[in-house]
Amino acid sequence: MKRLLHLALWVLLGTLVGLPAGIYWMNRSLVRKADAVGRLTEEAAVDYFAKAQYRNADRGSARQALLDAIQTHNRMKAQSQLRGNYEQYDLGYCYGELSLLEESAGNADVAREYMQRAVDTLKEAGFKGTIVSEHDIRERLSKEPFVDAALTGKSQ
């Protein structure tokens, strides 16, 4: 009986050592990775939404979606482990789209400021050459498919 009790105590001691190790391992292997992938998906979902709104929605909705996407991109810059140049490229083009949207609304000064931020963001991400010029950003955005509803002036 005493022998069995001793063995049970040794098992308990082992369990007390194993339990935190299991919790730590699962956190590292699953939870943190899922967290990183989740942050990346969250950023992609908001960016996708903003770009779809820019192409299809009224000016007010498109502007709000782009501002929200910019805020999310900037927040993720500090938080996301998997974030890279593609996300920074998306951020640059959010500024570019916002610039064209403000330009079409007659807000020339704001439009200029956003275009400058677009160029700076792409440079900051390490892009070089003509890709970071205002001309190139405008040209790429003009090739975007679908109706640029936000730019047609039908909106607020």
Binding site: V11, G14, L19, W25, V31, Y86
Partner: protein
């Protein structure tokens, strides 16, 4: 000597049981109470897999899209603690998922179901401020436009020279 061996075996068994129990507790909590980021990791999987199946005309596409829709709607639930901005992004995904289901039902000859899904998609997109929410336009968007998580695009994108830097 024999006692030492038995005690060592008992400690090892205990450690293994403790390790498994710890991992199980975290795994169950992860599945039962996902936080926002974990929820989005599921959304990412659902988004990429269901859209990829639709684009490939897979026989599983309908089932996967319906499951994806349930996942998206759970995030949009009023009881969900997600940021309202994120809920709007999910609403767009839900609308496009319904449009894809409409296309599948139309191909299968289920006109009523197809009409129902498309009407729901149109109502969602109208509430998001879309100016053209006609069925023709939505179908065009869905068939020509792939999400960043659904694999390679069907049309060649404008080429981009990304700098050769590793991600963080």
């Amino acid at each position: 000597m024999k006692r030492i061996v038995w005690n060592s075996v008992a400690v090892i068994v205990g450690m293994a049981a403790g390790f498994a129990a710890g991992a199980l507790v975290v795994g169950i909590r992860f599945l039962e109470q996902p936080n926002t980021h974990h929820y989005f990791s599921f959304v990412g999987i659902g988004w990429g897999v269901s859209e990829g199946a639709f684009d490939d005309n897979s026989s599983d596409a309908k089932d996967l899209l319906q499951k994806n829709l349930v996942l998206l709607e759970s995030g949009m639930d009023p009881r969900s603690e997600l940021d309202p901005r994120m809920k709007k992004a999910l609403l767009l995904q839900a609308a496009l998922t319904k449009a894809r289901l409409s296309i599948i039902e139309k191909k299968a000859g289920n006109v009523d179901l197809a009409t129902g899904y498309m009407a729901a998609a149109q109502a969602n997109l109208k509430s998001l401020g879309w100016l053209d929410y006609s069925a023709v336009h939505i179908e065009r968007v869905v068939q020509a436009h792939r999400s960043p998580l659904a694999g390679a695009p069907p049309v060649k994108p404008v080429s981009v020279n990304l700098p050769n830097q590793p991600t963080k």
